[in-house]
Amino acid sequence: MTDIMQVKGLTFKNEKKKHWFAQPEIFQLGPIELNVKRGETIAIIGENRSGKSLLAKLLVGAVEANSGEIVLNNNVYDARFNKKASRNSRTSDIRMIFQHSNESMNPALTVGRILDEPLRLNTGSDEATRKAIISDNLVKVGLLREHYYFYQHMLSDGQQQRVALARSIMLQPKVLVADEPFAALDPTIRSQTVNLILKLQQEMGLAFVFISHNLGIVRHIADKLIVMQDGNIVEAGKTETLFRWPQHEVTKKLILAYQSLVPQQTLR
């Protein structure tokens, strides 16, 4: 198994002053080293304000980093410069799913036009081809072709999450980054979405990096686990190893909190 994505020395510093006299709030992320293999699932866990979401945004290029390098599918991106040319090829290799799918859908456009956007901007195909691809992908995520004509307010949360998923796999990416994709969903829809992602991952060979507070899901689907604290990776390794023999204090706390909620018999 080869590395599909390598992150080297990714750092981000927040040095914005809010007031002239106020102490500048310094938050530094990284340097982060991360390797992602093809078809692998990596979970990022950690406390609030530990920089998990920021890391996700840095990976997809939504926020510009201060230094570092991302090797993605044999293309090297300098994480500091977010040039238009490199952004386009990056767009089709790495995609993001947002936490609140209802905020990440434009309320004035139909699902079809939302899904059309990545294709229109990144591929040169004509309208008929694009429409065929869109209805293919709608079926793939378990929606109907008719949802092409629906607006955001007509869809339930679960369906909106599926649309977000369809949007992210539209360009056949290699890596999918998700920021708490299951947080807003009820248990049934959550397991449906998890199964859907696992299925797509098998079909398309996607690497899936996701942030979650739900350690049950993490243990269920993640191959590798990353624990973050104050902008640094404090522990990383195989999920099962980390769950059984946590080394770092934060990991111990998180895992202990999880285990105290789960009846002991169900733990293998």
């Binding site: 386009n88 859908m105 309320p107 004035a108 956007e117």
Partner: protein
């Protein structure tokens, strides 16, 4: 692929259909819309609707009273003025001139204001602020005063007064657009489109503009009522449209000379301006509350 609605028993209206349903629920707004539509039809089809040429003078029929008075005739529905011109034809042409020029200048102000506001909203920092407050000085002076200054420099005329009113209307469009664009830029769907590879220009036209149409409609109706009032006020003061041109304010000013012997020459054009502004405001108000209800549901 045709829309296939076998499972679709619930009716799912698009945002625009939803707005129309909310708008239709208010009877007053609907009546206002009909009155406004009547004025628009009058303005568009004026040459085919008028019984007489609005400029044709008839020495045999000076100051004929309107048809509902005892000595009025049905051939001159609203009577004639001091030069024997048919008032009904003049008012219909007056709607055309007043409403038409107001429409043109509102659209012009909207185009300029929205483009400046959008650029200011997408940019940040001092440059954005400068663009935002570029024309704010105009807001300090009343429209009529600006118009008088411009007319003093360029000379009287309908076109010059239109420039003045356009200039005065631009700042409010800039401010509203900038605030709206700034708020939308923070939302996640814009970030999502940005990650799709959209440039700022594409972002504005494909993602933000479809959401902004409602704001533009509401602001446009407000601006339209201001424009109608200002165009006719300048016409009345003899600074805008010049007398032979049938403009509602100018017709009103003409009628003022004979107000004691022929009061209909003042009452009817005045009533027309009143109805026009009222219907525009009622429609604008209905639209605004319909949009608010749509968002809150």
């Amino acid at each position: 692929m045709a829309r296939f609605s076998l499972y679709d028993e619930e009716f799912h209206p698009s945002p625009w259909q939803q707005t129309w349903q909310e708008f239709r629920a208010s009877h007053i707004a609907l009546v206002g819309l009909f009155v406004l539509l009547m004025f628009i039809i009058f303005s568009v089809f004026a040459p085919w609707l008028v019984p007489y040429d609005p400029l044709e003078q008839n020495v045999d029929g000076l100051l004929i009273p309107p048809s509902w008075q005892l000595n009025g005739t049905v051939s001159h529905l609203f009577g004639t003025d001091a030069l024997g011109r048919d008032l009904f034809s003049r008012i219909i042409y007056g709607c055309r001139v007043t409403l038409g020029s107001s429409f043109i200048l509102v659209i012009l102000a909207m185009l300029v204001g929205v483009s400046i506001g959008a650029i200011a909203g997408i940019m940040s920092g001092v440059r954005s602020s400068i663009l935002n407050h570029l024309l704010d000085a105009l807001m300090a002076i009343p429209t009529l005063l600006i118009a008088i200054i411009i007319v003093a420099i360029l000379g009287t005329g309908l076109v010059n007064s239109m420039w003045a009113i356009t200039l005065a209307l631009i700042p409010q469009f800039i401010h509203h657009t900038r605030t709206f664009v700034r708020n939308e830029m923070k939302k996640e769907y814009v970030l999502a489109s940005r990650l799709d590879g959209a440039s700022n220009f594409q972002l504005f036209f494909n993602s933000i503009l479809p959401n902004m149409i409602e704001l533009l409609v509401v602001q446009g109706t407000l601006a339209l009522s201001i424009a109608v009032l200002d165009v006719s006020a300048l016409g009345f003061l003899n600074l805008g449209a010049q007398p032979p041109l049938p403009e509602l304010g100018a017709i009103l000013a003409d009628g003022l000379d004979v107000a004691y012997i022929a009061p209909w020459n003042v009452a009817l054009p005045g009533l027309t301006i009143f109805l026009m502004v009222l219907s525009i405001n009622v429609v604008g108000d209905g639209l605004r509350s319909a949009l608010r209800k749509r968002v809150s549901h």
